[in-house]
């Protein structure tokens, strides 16, 4: 297969001037006269760009780009599923998209019903008792979850003592950031040689100063923490809470749940697990689920249903941590997640999980002879391999893939494996694409090192000088 990305010398939107002129709409004299003379002007300085130039501009940019609509996007940790179009269609319906957020409950029963039902779906999928849809991203969900844990310890009069949050060294970088943002000290524990939580290190780190232990299961190496119920027991025994980073929920959904494993607080990444568009900084959505004893601390409002079947926004939670976002969360993402869950149903969601895990393990079997894949052969939703045994750098192999029109995996994360690639195919990819990806990566490892250094050559941009970009930072906007 030969691949050439479109290349245009495309100016910035602000540099484009179409020949046509804009016309300010006519207005009623009586209305104009209401505006004081000194506030009126003939020159409103609007951009002069015709529709045809705007559409062509963005179409050209999209042709110089790569997205989930083009092919496999195996960016480990990011869960780049194909985003189904029916969900976009529902989110674009005017009844939803044109609703003003301050309209009274009576006029938006349909929107409230969607939110209520999503709260119920997420509670059931995770075996938690209550859910808030307020947080606007995964990290925002983590932060909200940690604030709930803080409020819980405060309500018991133990916050002054419980200042530490324990996090394994394989955690997502947002975990320590969320804990620190909420005012806790971060205690990092090393992983055991098999890549999972080191129970002895955890026991040694736990004390009456511990507020919570944050983990994701399966972890960033795609490994299931088999001793999770034992972990839950020793964490709870020390008086701390157990936090579930839901970034990898797509690996277990429908098979098991954070609630069954003994977690107290969980956040969901709607944009990952439930296939809504993300990347490039948003939009995300990070609902948080809690066990019953933490319900009173949830942010406000939560959507509830009265006995007569009316949906309403409840702002009256006794010990709420307060508001964490304007209005009611990332509503368009909430809609897409609701549509995705409703469409697939519980059997469909479970099947998606099974297929995601199957695809990953298929790649393990395809790549295992050419690359070292540490920590055992059986993975969940993603795998981490090292390119060290091939003598090539992960970065160079990634450039080879990109040059063939295949999105590269995550490189150099997690930090506990050298020269690593973190590969997450998801369930929305065919066997043909998996084979093409595996063939390309194996072929990359057999290229001569010098030739790899010049790649990519088939894209709209060549090899980026990352060192220069980082050392001589120039920002324009």
């Amino acid at each position: 297969m030969t691949y050439h990305q479109a290349t245009y010398d495309e100016p910035l939107l602000s540099e484009i001037h179409s020949d046509n002129r804009y016309k300010v709409p006519e207005a009623d004299e009586n209305i104009i006269n209401l505006i004081p003379e000194e506030l009126r002007t003939d020159n409103v300085n609007l951009p002069v760009i015709a529709e045809y130039d705007v559409v062509r501009h963005f179409t050209r940019l999209s042709q110089m780009n790569y997205g989930v609509d083009l092919g496999i996007y195996p960016l480990g940790s990011c869960t780049m599923k194909f985003n189904p179009k029916f969900a976009d269609r529902i989110a674009s319906m005017e009844n939803f998209s044109e609703t003003h957020p301050l309209v009274g409950d009576d006029s938006i029963q349909g929107s409230l019903r969607v939110m209520y039902e999503l709260q119920v779906y997420l509670s059931e999928l995770s075996d938690m008792d209550a859910v808030t849809l307020q947080p606007l991203a995964g990290a925002h969900g983590e932060y909200t979850g940690i604030l709930i844990i803080r409020k819980y310890h405060e309500s018991k009069g133990e916050l002054e003592k419980r200042r530490e949050i324990i996090i394994p060294d394989s955690a997502h970088g947002t975990n320590p950031a969320s804990a620190a943002m909420a005012g806790f000290d971060v205690v990092e524990i090393p992983s055991s040689p098999d890549g999972t939580v080191d129970l002895d290190a955890l026991k040694a780190a736990l004390s009456d100063r511990t507020a919570a232990f944050m983990i994701t299961n399966p972890n960033t190496l795609g490994l299931f923490e088999k001793r999770i119920t034992e972990i839950a027991e020793i964490v709870h025994k020390s008086g701390a809470l157990l936090y579930y980073d839901g970034a990898n929920f797509n690996a277990i959904m429908g098979i098991t749940s954070p609630g069954l494993m003994g977690f107290d607080v969980v956040h969901f990444n709607l944009h990952k697990t439930f296939a809504t568009p993300h990347g490039g900084g948003g939009p995300g959505s990070g609902p948080v689920g809690v066990k019953k004893f933490l319900k009173e601390f949830l942010p406000i409002p939560v959507v509830e249903k009265s006995p007569d079947g009316k949906y309403f926004l409840n702002f009256d939670l006794r010990n709420t941590i307060g508001k964490v976002s304007p209005y009611y969360g990332a509503f368009s993402t909430i809609l897409r997640a609701w549509a995705y869950i409703t469409y697939h149903g519980s059997d469909g969601l479970t099947e998606n999980t099974v297929r995601a895990v199957l695809n990953t393990n298929y790649l393990v079997s395809r790549l295992g002879n050419d690359f070292k894949i540490p920590f055992g052969k059986l993975k969940k939703h993603e795998l981490v391999l090292t390119t060290e045994n091939t003598g090539k750098r992960a970065l160079d192999l990634a450039k080879y893939l990109i040059d063939l029109g295949i999105h590269a995996p995550t490189v150099y994360f997690p930090l506990n494996v050298h020269e690593d690639m973190m590969i997450e195919p998801t369930e929305t990819v065919s066997k043909r694409d998996l084979d093409q990806f595996a063939d390309a990566l194996i072929s990359a490892s057999r290229q001569d090192e010098e030739s790899l250094k010049h790649l990519p050559v088939n894209l709209s941009v060549g090899r980026i000088d990352e060192v220069k970009a980082a050392r001589q930072l120039k920002l324009h906007w």
Binding site: Y412, F413, L415, H418, E466, V467, A470, R471
Partner: protein, 124 residues
Amino acid sequence: MSKIPQELKYTKSHEWIRVEGETVTVGITDYAQSQLTDIVFIDLPKKGTKKKAGEVLLTIESVKSAEDVFSPLDGEVTEVNSALEDKPELVNKDPYANWMVKLQKKGGFGETMTPEEYKKFIGE
């Protein structure tokens, strides 16, 4: 093969240490710089900063990742290699000539290794 000078001590977090009386010089090893690849920023501490053994002394950013460098002992920062502020890449060129921080010894050392032990530790 990484360079591991005989006259230095080493840590598990890949710092090298030179002890001269009460002055202790700290840098990162050749193995560490090769793992980091191109270093783009070094966040040096202020003079007078007091650190306990095992506390974060400074942070190094490379095109690959950001990593902490830990204080090998209880001490006070007396000098920093400010040439690295503009030219962090010097550490890639020669990690042993381009030290990062000098500390005045105030207490004990954490765990350290001999050159032979460090060589074994990094599997070379």
